[in-house]
């Protein structure tokens, strides 16, 4: 079967959930496996970077990379796969917009190391030993990787052709994407392979969203009886729906919990956090500064809430003084 299009999968700094979403194709995975020749998938096959290096440039039709980028090795792999692939796809929130791990961009590397290896309550470490990039041993050394100062999305490291959003993407979107690639009818470069409408448009609770939303109090979900039918925002519960792309089949909403924004923004929005900030603040039902501040005080962690999955791709990218 020499002529089947070649497809590769690779992971960077990911939790494995994206890999599970591929496995969750379940019976459909056989169909995919028949249509394409998977040439590189570290999770499922032995592989070798050298083997990929030996391939002619552009010989892979499409590579899907999940996970954010934190180390030089991941950067190297991203460059290598970029070169070898006609199409490079950022798969899942981390590759797309930095993902949950990019919340670490609010903290310094030093703080992370100190907290984990010296200050954690279980740690017994009087000598303040820390893992070292190079630990000498009998004339040679055990080496560990150093990690970068920032968590990055894939497109902050290499050019990306398409994006599959979600934490993780749904198997349905994955299957659609593969079919699209095979059809040869490629969408414009940079397209996010999911509907370009806000989550609210396809929300099962759409009907109960007031046209003129007025928020008098932000309620944290654990302190609120959640009405299983009514728009979360109408209940005063923060929902990322207005600033988030649809296509997830409203899974969290069906679980009776609000959207947290994993599909990233629509094409008309550059900064997802700023967008939801704008939407929520505008709906606050107050005119006096004290009253406004009081209501907004009900949002305890705006950065963690608004940029849960997208801090790396936000306009500021990180806490600027870390």
């Amino acid at each position: 079967m020499p002529d089947k299009p070649k497809v590769a999968f690779y992971w960077c700094a990911s939790c494995g959930g994206c890999e599970e979403s591929i496995v969750d194709l379940a019976e459909d995975i056989l169909e995919v496996a028949q249509a394409v020749d998977i040439v590189f998938w570290p999770v499922a096959m032995d592989f070798k970077r050298k083997h990929v290096e030996a391939m002619p440039d552009g010989s892979i039709l499409a590579t899907m990379v999940n996970g954010s980028i934190r180390t030089s090795e991941q950067e190297e792999m991203a460059h290598l796969l970029r070169r070898k692939s006609q199409i490079l796809i950022a798969y899942g929130s981390c590759a797309h917009t930095g993902g949950v791990p990019s919340l670490a961009n609010q903290f310094s590397k030093e703080q992370i190391l100190r907290t984990v290896y010296e200050e954690a309550p279980t740690v017994v470490n009087e000598q303040k030993v820390r893992p070292q990039p190079r630990h000498p041993y009998d004339g040679t050394a055990l080496t560990l990787p150093e990690f970068r100062g920032l968590v990055r999305s894939l497109d902050q490291v290499v050019e990306v052709d398409y994006y599959l959003p979600g934490c993780p993407p749904t198997p349905k979107l994955l299957k659609q994407a593969v079919l699209t690639l095979l059809s040869g009818q490629l969408p414009p470069k940079g397209t996010v392979l999911a509907p370009d409408t806000a989550q609210c448009d396809s929300c099962p609770r759409k009907e109960s969203k007031p046209a003129d939303l007025k928020i008098t109090e932000f309620k944290r979900p654990h302190w609120t009886q959640i009405d299983p039918e009514k728009c979360f925002l109408a209940q005063g519960i923060i929902c990322m729906g207005p600033a988030t792309r649809s296509g997830c089949e409203a899974q969290c909403i069906k679980g009776n919990m609000p959207c947290t924004g994993c599909f990233g923004p629509t094409s008309r929005v550059r900064d997802q956090g700023a967008k939801i900030l704008s939407a929520l603040a505008s709906s606050v039902d107050a005119r006096e500064p004290e009253e406004i501040e009081k209501i907004l005080g009900g949002i305890p962690d705006p950065v963690g809430t608004f940029y849960r999955y997208s801090l790396a791709k936000s306009l500021l990218r990180a806490k600027v003084t870390r």
Partner: protein, 173 residues
Amino acid sequence: MEDRPITDKLVTSADWEPLIVAFFCNWCTYTAADLAGVSRMGYDHNVRVIRVMCSGRVDPQFVLDAFAHGADGVLIGGCHPGDCHYVEGNYKTLRRYYLLKRVLRDLGIEEGRLRLEWIAASEGEKVAKTINEMVEQVRALGPLRLTRRFKEWDAELASIEAQARSEEVATHA
């Protein structure tokens, strides 16, 4: 929105001068700034004024984008409460302003770098005073210069591709 600095020269020069981006409402503050100009009321040259139809048009993304492109401070000027040409615009601005300030603080941008002022069309001197005050305040805070910081952050990326290529050559050799 292309990630290109507004003035690369400014942000890389050693003798730094604060750069303030000002979003002024067409109906009040922009007119007041005009008035300040024709009245020859001096205000600092470090400000770049962008006219918008309403302070309510100032999407928080604009503010972040200004910082991301090298602004050291952002000033928003709008109509006094109750005077909005579009009735509600300036209230929306006010609410966003409070929340945006918190987000900026959590992302390491000092409070004094973002300011919201209500300035009516007749208040030319207030424009001058506000701008001069803000320039001094930002001068005291020092440069933000995110364009340069971004470059510094990404310096760790620059050598990767070259390195990868050389390793590839080495392993094939």
